[in-house]
Amino acid sequence: MAKQGEIHRVAGPVVTAVGISPRMYDVMQVGQEGLMGEVIKIAGDKTVIQVYEETSGLKPGEKVVDTGQPLVAELGPGLLGSVYDGIQRPLPVLMSSMGNFIKRGVSAAGLDHKKKWAFEPTAKKGDEVSPGSILGTVKEAYMVHKIMVPYGVSGKIEQLNDGSFTVDETIGVIGGKNVKMMQNWPVRSGRPFGKKLLPDIPLLTGQRVLDTMFPIPKGGTGAIPGAFGTGKTVTQQQLAKWSDAEIVVYIGCGERGNEMTEVLATFPELEDPKTGEPLMQRTVLIANTSNMPVAARECSVYTGMTIAEYYRDMGYNVSLMADSTSRWAEAMREISSRLEEMPGEEGYPAYLSARLSEFYERAGRVQNPNGTMGSVSVVGAVSPPGGDLSEPVTQNTLRIVRVFWALDSKLRERRHFPAINWLTSYSLYTSNLDAWYRANVAQDFPALRNWAMEVLQKESELQEIVQLVGSDALPDEQKMTLEIARMIREIFLQQNAYHKVDTYCPLNRQYTYMKLIKKFSELANKAVENDVAVDAIVGLPVRNRLAKSKFEDTIDHELEEIAKEMPIQFETLGEKK
């Protein structure tokens, strides 16, 4: 079992080594500079390694050293608020050690190994514990970080200390083994859990089109495909900012550098709507921009998922955003083509579908071994080339995920944001979640949603007629339907992510809006029956007031006023006639 071999061939990020026989996915140090890489293929005496750093200048004959372990994430206090690259190197640390540009051959630990954390035991000496059991807590920013028994350790607690420790120091002894706060976990394997539960609690996002129309539950999976510029990133960032998960893991996978900067600049300034604390302190960011090494990009989604699962194990609801899974798939394709593998569809490797489903399967709401319940919800952005949804990454993703938010470039052109097409999007979870909506918002919530969808559906049918004969040819009743649909679209579905009031709309307010539009519709239809002109109805000040209300600081008060005002204004219509 040789621990050191030498380079045989270098082609881009793929290095072939000879004279060494490591295990699959072992981490290797490649070349004189010890560049970090991972074994991805073993063929005869040749070992193929994907290298996470730039390989320029690497020569055949240079040494390759086997570290003997797979790529692991360091899990422990200090993750929250961190900004990592794809292989969990903290970017601020990299910047202080190598300046503004990412150079190579620098390793950096995922956690701060010097910082001391105050550990408060919750378990007692003599307790019988098993992997995942909670030993105690550490205050991490304003979150309670639960220290769990690592896998491979179980038995009686022989010793458990109170006090301040670094992540490397022993906090206790269990079954004869020393236990510290940090644990390592190989990123490519899912962390174990007790059992999966049915996802029947919605992940609330404050986005009207998502929460009301196409909800995703805690522990659910969703995809946002769309051509470039349709607002995938903004939608994902909105989810990261406003979703009611306790922990957010945001993976910028092959992202734009400047967009990552925007995230890095805005997140620390944002307040968590529930606690008023900075949002960043419950967020882990992974930024592997498009020009950073492709192999690290391939790995970044696994690093993020492992961190998400770790917090799930403590009993938290975690939402994980991956932007964009297409870049991840392309990284797979790029590596695969360097390996000269037989390509599947459009050059993607044949294992594309398997990798995608493995990844999304790591989502879910689970019962943990320690008795808590936690969840990881995954929302993956997909960037289909040319907006063509029939391409392999989109298709393979859609077979797995259960929520589909279809972004539409037509809507984007008319600045309908979020540009989520209400006719093609779907959520297969609505029936699971309806019971929750009935119990927690209002009995008629599902009915209201169905009513709105029907109006929008009818609108699209009527639009086809309008395209042929013009809207003047329609009877008033149908004209009114078009106007109501316009209200649903403009007032309810459109939401301005950059407006301080409109950016977040709580669920009960979403309900009020629906209710008011429905009310308007009922009164309007009655008025139309009484031969009131459609223009007069649409021209009612209350309609305009409802449209503008979402930008008002006193929005809830405004809505109450509108509810009172609406029937009065409709009555005046009757009088005029």
Partner: protein, 463 residues
């Protein structure tokens, strides 16, 4: 270094732009190599693949004339660009050698042309509004410092005029900081190159420009390094000499063709339409070199130009570009035919960094609302044109007619402007307000009441 390195005469295969050399001592990946023909002429290349059996070299100047007897030397380092402040005002060829008859460049530094990724943590947020004086850009698709905003065009469309107008008029208001233009031509015709040069000379921009010229008849493979040389120069000017650099890369389509040519010669598994599977990563390694860095006053703003084959925006080149750049300016054949210049299709265009660069203190408080409203109204008006073609104008409702008229007026007054017309942002917004005033006020759903009261012409007059 080339004096000490060993010369090999072991070329085993020459295919397209590639030369295969056998039985070498260990050679580094991406290392620079020279190929010397028996008559003494030299060509430069770069190592694409290295193993203990053979080394593959991609020759920049093309392989014509290379025979198996040619000698190959490896220079033991990756390609570096000599850079200096004196490069301003100089014209270089696609390989970085002066072609303006001036002296050789005395380097102040020699930098790796592949650069390195900017640590995302080190980036500063781009948010300084660049006023280009073009309404469709300033008003609707605002450019900010550190952004990469390509022009998606088609053959025969005046994308060069748009780029030149931006280069001429671009400024950050109220600042007098040093700026420079780095211009990289990849495979454009001599005529097009002349056009750019003449304009640079006419406006005196040449003094502040570094020009890299790889023309249509220059070796295609050289196009792979031309933009890298240009960006390395830009990085030096921006982050060492603290200048604001505008980089114009034209034409990215030619660059991608060269990339495909190499891929084919290496018999790689092709991706979409024969372009290599790593084209996204490769393009990202160019485009991502735009930006700002915390604590540095310089910046790199990129305007790559690409011609969409067959005006197809879903073609891999514009498609992958759009996924990396922060938006795009799309030139429209339809508008060009209608004689509207610059023919920028605002509907298909987008600036992702616009929201960071506009608003109170940057442009004007009503900017976002006005641009959203124009977008919505223009899109609606354009849709109605299709309807009018079928049923005639008379069948439209009063409301619809207003929107239809808005779309026409928008193209004629807002989009259309002279090539030397440098509009202030206030002028741009006021034109927009004048046009929006034709639409009933209750239909201006994107605009806060307080802005309507402050800026709407009807209220302005009464006030």
């Amino acid at each position: 270094m080339s004096i000490v390195s060993k010369e090999y005469r072991t070329i085993s295969q020459i295919a397209g732009p590639l030369v295969f050399v056998e039985k070498t001592e260990p050679v580094g990946y991406n290392e620079l190599a020279t190929v010397t023909m028996p008559d003494g002429t030299q060509k430069r290349g770069q190592v694409l693949d290295t193993s203990d059996k053979y080394v593959v070299i991609q020759v920049f100047e093309g392989t014509s004339g290379i025979e198996k007897a040619a000698g190959v030397r490896f220079l033991g380092e990756t390609m570096r660009m000599p850079v200096s402040q004196d490069m301003l005002g100089r014209i270089l060829n696609g390989a970085g050698d002066p072609i303006d008859g001036g002296p050789a460049i005395t380097p102040e530094d020699r930098l790796d042309i592949n650069g390195a990724a900017i640590n995302p943590w080190a980036r500063a947020e781009p948010k300084e509004f660049i006023q280009t004086g073009i309404s469709t850009i300033d008003g609707m698709n605002t450019l900010v410092r550190g952004q990469k905003l390509p022009i998606f065009s088609g053959s025969g469309l005046p994308h060069n005029d748009i780029a030149l107008q931006i280069a001429r008029q671009a400024k950050v208001r109220g600042s007098n900081e040093e700026f420079a233009v780095v211009f990289a031509a990849m495979g454009i015709t001599a005529e097009e190159a002349q056009y750019f040069m003449a304009d640079f000379e006419r406006t005196g921009a040449l003094k502040r420009a570094v020009v890299f010229m790889n023309l249509a008849d220059d070796p295609a493979i050289e196009r792979i390094i031309t933009p890298r040389l240009a960006l390395t120069t830009a990085e030096y000017l921006a982050f060492e000499l603290n200048m604001h650099v505008l980089v114009i890369l034209t034409d990215i389509t030619n660059y991608c063709e060269a990339l495909r040519q190499i891929g084919a010669a290496r018999e790689e598994v092709p991706g979409r339409r024969g372009y290599p599977g790593y084209m996204y990563t490769d393009l990202a390694s160019l485009y991502e070199r735009a930006g700002r860095i915390k604590g540095k006053s310089g910046s790199i703003t990129q305007i790559p130009i690409l011609t969409m084959p067959g005006d197809d925006i879903t073609h891999p080149i514009p498609d992958l570009t759009g996924y990396i750049t922060e938006g795009q300016i799309v030139a429209s054949r339809e508008l060009n035919r209608a004689g509207i210049s610059p023919p920028i299709n605002v509907g298909a265009s987008l600036s992702r960094l616009m929201n960071a660069g506009i608003g109170p203190g940057l442009t004007r408080e009503d900017h976002k609302a006005v641009s959203d409203q124009c977008y919505a109204a223009y899109a609606e008006g354009r849709d109605l044109r299709g309807l009018v073609a079928i049923v005639g104008k008379d069948a439209l409702s009063e409301r619809d007619r207003k929107f239809l008229e808005f779309a026409d007026a928008f193209e004629n007054r807002f989009v259309r402007q002279g090539s030397d017309e440098d509009r202030e942002i206030e002028t741009t917004l006021d034109i927009a307000w004048d046009l929006l005033a034709a639409i009933p006020e209750n239909q201006l759903s994107r605009i806060d009441r307080k802005y309507i009261e402050k800026y709407h012409p009807a209220h302005r007059k009464s006030a």
